[in-house]
Symmetry: D4
Subunit: 159 residues, 8 copies
Amino acid sequence: MRQLDDTDLQILRLLLEDASRTYSDIAEIVDVSPPTVSDRIDRLREMGVIRRFTIDVDSSKLNDGVSVLVEAELSPTVDTDVVDRFAALEDVEHAFLTADSRVFIDANVPKGDVRELLAGGVDLDLVERFDVSLLVQSEWRPKVKDSDTDAELEQTVRQ
Amino acid sequence: MRQLDDTDLQILRLLLEDASRTYSDIAEIVDVSPPTVSDRIDRLREMGVIRRFTIDVDSSKLNDGVSVLVEAELSPTVDTDVVDRFAALEDVEHAFLTADSRVFIDANVPKGDVRELLAGGVDLDLVERFDVSLLVQSEWRPKVKDSDTDAELEQTVRQ
Amino acid sequence: MRQLDDTDLQILRLLLEDASRTYSDIAEIVDVSPPTVSDRIDRLREMGVIRRFTIDVDSSKLNDGVSVLVEAELSPTVDTDVVDRFAALEDVEHAFLTADSRVFIDANVPKGDVRELLAGGVDLDLVERFDVSLLVQSEWRPKVKDSDTDAELEQTVRQ
Amino acid sequence: MRQLDDTDLQILRLLLEDASRTYSDIAEIVDVSPPTVSDRIDRLREMGVIRRFTIDVDSSKLNDGVSVLVEAELSPTVDTDVVDRFAALEDVEHAFLTADSRVFIDANVPKGDVRELLAGGVDLDLVERFDVSLLVQSEWRPKVKDSDTDAELEQTVRQ
Amino acid sequence: MRQLDDTDLQILRLLLEDASRTYSDIAEIVDVSPPTVSDRIDRLREMGVIRRFTIDVDSSKLNDGVSVLVEAELSPTVDTDVVDRFAALEDVEHAFLTADSRVFIDANVPKGDVRELLAGGVDLDLVERFDVSLLVQSEWRPKVKDSDTDAELEQTVRQ
Amino acid sequence: MRQLDDTDLQILRLLLEDASRTYSDIAEIVDVSPPTVSDRIDRLREMGVIRRFTIDVDSSKLNDGVSVLVEAELSPTVDTDVVDRFAALEDVEHAFLTADSRVFIDANVPKGDVRELLAGGVDLDLVERFDVSLLVQSEWRPKVKDSDTDAELEQTVRQ
Amino acid sequence: MRQLDDTDLQILRLLLEDASRTYSDIAEIVDVSPPTVSDRIDRLREMGVIRRFTIDVDSSKLNDGVSVLVEAELSPTVDTDVVDRFAALEDVEHAFLTADSRVFIDANVPKGDVRELLAGGVDLDLVERFDVSLLVQSEWRPKVKDSDTDAELEQTVRQ
Amino acid sequence: MRQLDDTDLQILRLLLEDASRTYSDIAEIVDVSPPTVSDRIDRLREMGVIRRFTIDVDSSKLNDGVSVLVEAELSPTVDTDVVDRFAALEDVEHAFLTADSRVFIDANVPKGDVRELLAGGVDLDLVERFDVSLLVQSEWRPKVKDSDTDAELEQTVRQ
């Protein structure tokens, strides 16, 4: 079990804000050398803390459908990898699986046809019932907590 | 109303996969010149299609709490900017607001104390009731649709 | 208490199908004189059986919003004329009030903003909670029953 | 994609109010020639905006049953044309199908026997559960929006 | 269709209060002759208005079990005579069947074992789910309305 | 604590069936003397086992309204004597109060106007929500259990 | 049917508080001889009032999982001994079965994987649906009521 | 952070089964010296793993009421120490508080009067609604897991 220190957390916060920053920019702010920034980032990727560099796309500007949040209540006997099939559906951006076998997905669906969306990859016999809500706003606000408050534990990286 | 063409969509897909690619790498794959890639990306940022370059962090590796999905049913009279207050809560990563005044958030909460989480920034008088589910899996799968299937409309960018 | 006979019912059925038919056309089909058709229609209007001549408009061709069905659970103490305020809302086409103080409306709402729709004419303090469903299909199929089946009663006009 | 202008919208509003108005009456109010009114109405019918001329019948004056609103929750695997079977049931006037496979119908049912109503045309195995509400009021208030408020989009006719 | 007059209604009210009254007692109060009382009562029995003379028993004084109200949600495909099987169960006093296929029974159940109660005569496969409430009070208050208030209709006996 | 014996139970059963039986008739069936029957019945009335002699009226033959079952969820702070106010409402025949502050009433309501029914005697501020079901059948089947099956306890009269 | 007297109740209360007290300690407090305490405790064990001497363990200090309360709604046809299978599950401390076929269990589950917990001993086909709540606090407060308040009955031991 | 070893876990299991065992008995089974057993138990008490020595009482043999499970949904603004007030109620044995502000208690209530039970110590204004279930069985099965299966973590004592 390796630890994340304040420098790691600060680098994570800077990349979350703007991942196109150069190592030099980050180095200056964090007050370490650029090679240190590079090493730290490599280690964070190896540890799986950083899964990838990506972009935040406003999908409402790409699609002309209706944004919905779908809650599907699955049969208690369903396999847990079902969440992958939901996440893989065209138009779906996030998928959440709860301990009581419910899946929540958000999607931008052409003409709001959720049944067609689901039928495109999920066996509907596994779905006991589903409920569709109209989405009016979605926020993504990843955060990295400070290490100096009730810290110790928070910085521990489980592997 | 400006249009996105196939090159734009391909660039978006490449950046979603790995935003640390260089312009030259992208240019080679998409088969345009690097300056064109640079111009296109600038335009996509101006249009708001790309909101920012960022990293995908595995927050379960950063925190030691319990991952939950909270559904809060708000009073019908509540102000719509309430979703911002939910999104701003420490430990919260996503916040969704539905047309029927319900907010869904996912969070990694120390000791599962959701009430303390909410009390840290939301006026609980606005919350009619809330329901906490234990999260066992979360997937993020942003997608950019092909422009050659029932396309025309999909590529239109609303502004 | 006056009665409707088979001729009345047949005229009603013909007008439901196409209210632009002339009295002569109707007279020929029903096998009475045109003045009789005219008299019957006048009497049906006086009795309130025919409320008005109108057109059936495909509102989805007029609007660009999201079609929804809203169920609003009202406070038990609410005044019954509240249904009028719901029906009068811009974008609302039908409003139904149940014996247990719930109102159902269908509406075509720009951007699916149901809260703004409701706020445009209904005191939200009267609404205990509301639930928004995405509509995928609406059918209107007015019917006039035959008078020769378990009839007598069906043709009675209450006044 | 053809556009509706203010004259079209005004004609629609006049016909919704009273479809027995003559072309001359309408022409005078709208301030165009009667042949123009005739042409416009023909075009609106061709576009499908006007589906038909009809009458608004007060079915409570024709029937002696109990007015109910039935919500039927259908199996997720059900075919979408099921809504037609509900709409075709004797005694049913409207049928609404939501994105989460629920059908709402209003009907005037002799002796309130909803089960017999449904059994008359719907395979009950497809109905997971149904809920019957007593209707105390129904309103039909079709509306045509003004073209001069956040207009552009509203007048667009999709075809 | 025969009518009930004020004398009939008064006799019904007196018998509901105390069915051990003699015809003479009733005749005196109602101000008719005893044979008239006798004739009226015979006619009310023939019409089915009076189903039988009986006693009101306080079953809580006869049994030592737990008084419960059970709501059983039945399959939509169930036969309507199922309510008879519920009413016939030992320990059950009343059974109500609603239009949406739910049965409500009140019963005084030894040791509160409702499952054993139901299993004693009802095919549990027909029961989708059931809900047991603890009863703390039961009231029986049969009433016969006055004939002089919005009357006419109320006194009509359907046959 | 006095006991009911088999003779008492048999008399109760005979009276439930037909309370117009004479003491002699009952005496013959039960095989005791008529004065014994008289004494037993007097004692059963004193003990409160028999509350009164009454008639079973088919209220659907007396009223022309809609038969409903109303479930009213009351505020947890409500007074328990509220059930009396529900039972006293015109049109209500039975009222049941559960341990979790819900009241169930059956009633035959003119035009199905349940809100007016409730408003006629119950403070609607105490009612959190109410739900109206259409009744299609009601059964009353009072039973007196045999004393020879797991008896002892059943016959005990609590006082 | 044997009775518990005040001395029995006092001894029970003392042992609930601290079962490691010696007979002499208890004897002194209750003001009887130590052999009497010994006899009384033996009798209470024989009667089944005391099921065993045990310890109250803080399971949150022994496990590192998530504490949950699971409500499982079982099929109405399920066998009642199913509660044993729930209680026997690893990680489960209490199991409650209600009259309407629902089982509640509290458990401390590694990684909150409730499905795996249930699958470890319960046939999931019997579970219609289940709902998982995050537990934040559990209290165990066994009490023995005083014998001098509405007593008589309370002290009766059923056997 | 101190560790529990196999000896500790074995001692805990033996005491759960029968806390009246002598140190010598335990020592023999676990194969350590009696003073070691004594030391271990003292340490387990200091660490709070053993909260107290107690007895398992069959409360159904002490009380004559109805066994219920009550779920009370509390206002989101309620103070968390409310669970103490529920646990302190006469007749209540366990109280559980969930992360979404619901309290579950089991109790043996005289005459099933749950409202009186709650009113005896809880401010009913804090209770949004409550639901009472009849309990038919309760099991208490504390378990101490083996240390040799996915152990390490399980034995860790958090302090």
